[in-house]
Point group: C2
Chain length 401, copies 2
């Protein structure tokens, strides 16, 4: 692959696909060219030459001149078929589809190795932050204790609007949608699913563990309210949606996504709007922090461009940690220090707390509880919590009310 | 080189060399082994097996089994000879010597290409922050507007002690020396030279320009005093030593190192002690920020380990920007908004200001001036300023006294 010209077959021409075209054009990246673009809707007008377009995936998969498939469609099942089939036919794959990757990583890696091609996905996690390759390469041999961050620009944008401008959740969500930072159906972003997929991808490189999506607790910000924002503000703190992967013992990891209360000493305190932030705690280098744009056509296009540059250099993810940490498993027993707010008709017995240290009825009729609960117990209740309108966030270990 | 075992010849067994040994040992990195260590002083006791040691560089350079030379000595001339001779003999080189690299990069790259080996130096800039390879790879094809940061842990540690604890410069320097964050002769760190070498290295990757050390203005913190710290604190700001490379027009760059006044909205405001921070402004991805430990045996060892991992994957810096920006030159005409404090016997005529907007005699007898001055004029006066005890820092463009 070294310095071979990249002939690209592109799937999808939405925000991300279009971003790649713009970025390729403006960067003057001369070692790659788009040979064909496969789109779904023949009726939609497109700002690219007619002869580049096709509606038949076979026109890309069957073209022996195309050596790289860039996949930017949203349907994870179709994306999986495209990625697998491309690699089976000896084409490198660059994909932005985190949901597809999180669900199928082991099988995709088998195909990658069998066909001796590359599978790169910098654009699938944290937008423009060069985090996947940095973890895979730079921290490939250094033991990593923990990784956490703000991985979802949509929910962070909403939380910023709420904390900086005092908007309520619904208004902030509508503003995010109007600004192009939230989709029409924002569930995956606001409920923490999107962040969970990204956490799975990063932890595969940082800790050598490929978790299954069902194994991980995820709680989002759908039920966050004024009382929660006030609670944070009165303490000079902020609420952020934080995916976390923490080594709890040499071979056990606690992995989960939930809102967390962070103070001004946290690097995440100043990550606002659509920005993402990643903190990595490594054994030799200590705390590393990265911040950059987490959403948008150009930032995502930039990550795709970076993957194409890496491909040109013959780069493949090494997944060194897989070799080193083969016998690491998930730890659901970890006790979390939590804040929970639920509708007043519910009671502390609705959640399997280990301990409740504080309980109060609020003016708005809801009930607030502080206490401890195990990660596993919270996981088992999490779908119920979403249905019943319960908001929960993690408190710092050092928290005193 | 792909997955070949690395047989390492190590030069130097000071803090950095010893850090590499520890990090290699603790990481369980099994694809590399230290075959020989060349040190200078035969009388100094060493905590490594006697048979690994040699006092003759030829024992490493002449050993055909050694395929990687890791160079951690401080003498830049000797380091250059070692790096060049190693590459001439077909050995890859990993070096931490920023001064040597900044002075000889073009010639070293010729040897690298002639011998088809790798020359890597992640540990030479910003300690544990994975910045060299990130810029070379991730931003290799994306146009970069500017890069700036806190590249020198020693001076940042001193500034933190002064601003957080109210120490004066001399006391803070002694504390840095006692804590192992400053050398016996701290000149290179506190006068801005070390930061300048690192700026040259990073700009070679981000902007494709290899500046000569003599071409760049560097001003340090040797003459910083209480009046300057008070000036910053009264405005809720901090003073940081900032190397900067800014695109002033499509093919012109302003590159310099000097203290700067930064506000709480700057990402550098919260970078304290021995930490380093890098901000990169790229055309598609926007502002990227990186923070991590900039000094210490383990952080530097971590960067060396990362280079060894990259070597194993066959990695070479691509220097893509060299091809794209071949005709970019330095811009000395840029006007800087500055704060200058000089001994009271001197006058504003001592510096070729374009404009002086404020002048006052301070209680301690020194003279403070605010105004504008060109980068080139400041550069020409900079050695004189160091001799005469003049402190200068850049003010934000938006600064109002």
């Amino acid at each position: 692959m070294h310095n071979q010209r990249l002939n690209i077959g592109l799937f999808g021409l939405g925000v991300v696909g279009k971003g790649l075209l713009d970025v390729l054009h403006e960067s003057g990246f001369s070692d790659a060219g788009i040979r064909r673009i496969c789109v779904k809707d023949p009726l939609k007008p497109r700002a690219v030459p007619r002869e580049l377009l096709t509606y038949d995936a076979g026109d890309i998969l069957g073209d022996p001149e195309i050596n790289v498939v860039v996949e930017t469609i949203s349907d994870p099942d179709a994306a999986f078929e495209i990625a697998r089939e491309s690699m089976r036919r000896g084409k490198h794959v660059v994909t932005a589809n985190k949901k597809m990757l999180a669900a199928h990583l082991p099988e995709l890696l088998e195909w990658r190795d069998r066909s001796d091609v590359s599978l790169l996905y910098e654009s699938a996690a944290c937008g423009s932050i060069p985090i996947v390759r940095t973890i895979d390469e730079h921290f490939g041999s250094e033991p990593v204790e923990g990784i956490s961050g703000i991985f979802n620009g949509t929910s962070n944008y909403i939380l910023s609007r709420m904390s900086l401008e005092g908007l309520d959740f619904e208004t902030a969500l509508r503003q995010a949608q109007a600004s192009g930072f939230a989709e029409e159906d924002p569930s995956s972003d606001i409920d923490g699913l999107d962040a969970k997929y990204k956490l799975i991808l990063l932890a595969a490189h940082s800790h050598g563990v490929v978790a299954k999506p069902d194994e991980l607790l995820y709680l989002g910000i759908r039920h966050i309210g004024k009382a929660d924002m006030d609670f944070a503000r009165e303490r000079g703190m902020k609420i952020k949606l934080l995916p976390q992967c923490i080594r709890s013992s040499p071979h056990r990891l606690a992995m989960y996504v939930m809102p967390a209360l962070v103070g001004a000493d946290s690097p995440f305190y100043q990550v606002e709007d659509e920005y993402n932030g990643v903190q990595l705690q490594a054994n030799f280098s200590g705390h590393q922090f990265f911040r950059g744009r987490g959403a948008g056509a150009f930032p995502t296009g930039s990550a795709l461009l970076s993957d194409l540059g890496a491909l040109q250099g013959g780069y493949r993810y090494a997944y060194r940690k897989h070799r080193l940490n083969g016998h690491t498993s998930l730890d659901a027993s970890r006790l979390l220090n939590v804040y929970v707010r639920m509708p007043g008709r519910l009671h502390s017995a609705s959640l399997p707390f280990e301990q409740v240290t504080h309980e109060s009825l609020l003016e708005d009729g809801s009930r607030r509880m502080l206490g401890t609960i195990s990660l596993g117990a919270l996981h088992r209740q999490s779908r119920q919590m979403l249905r019943e309108g319960i908001f929960a966030m993690q408190l710092p270990d050092s928290f005193e009310k």
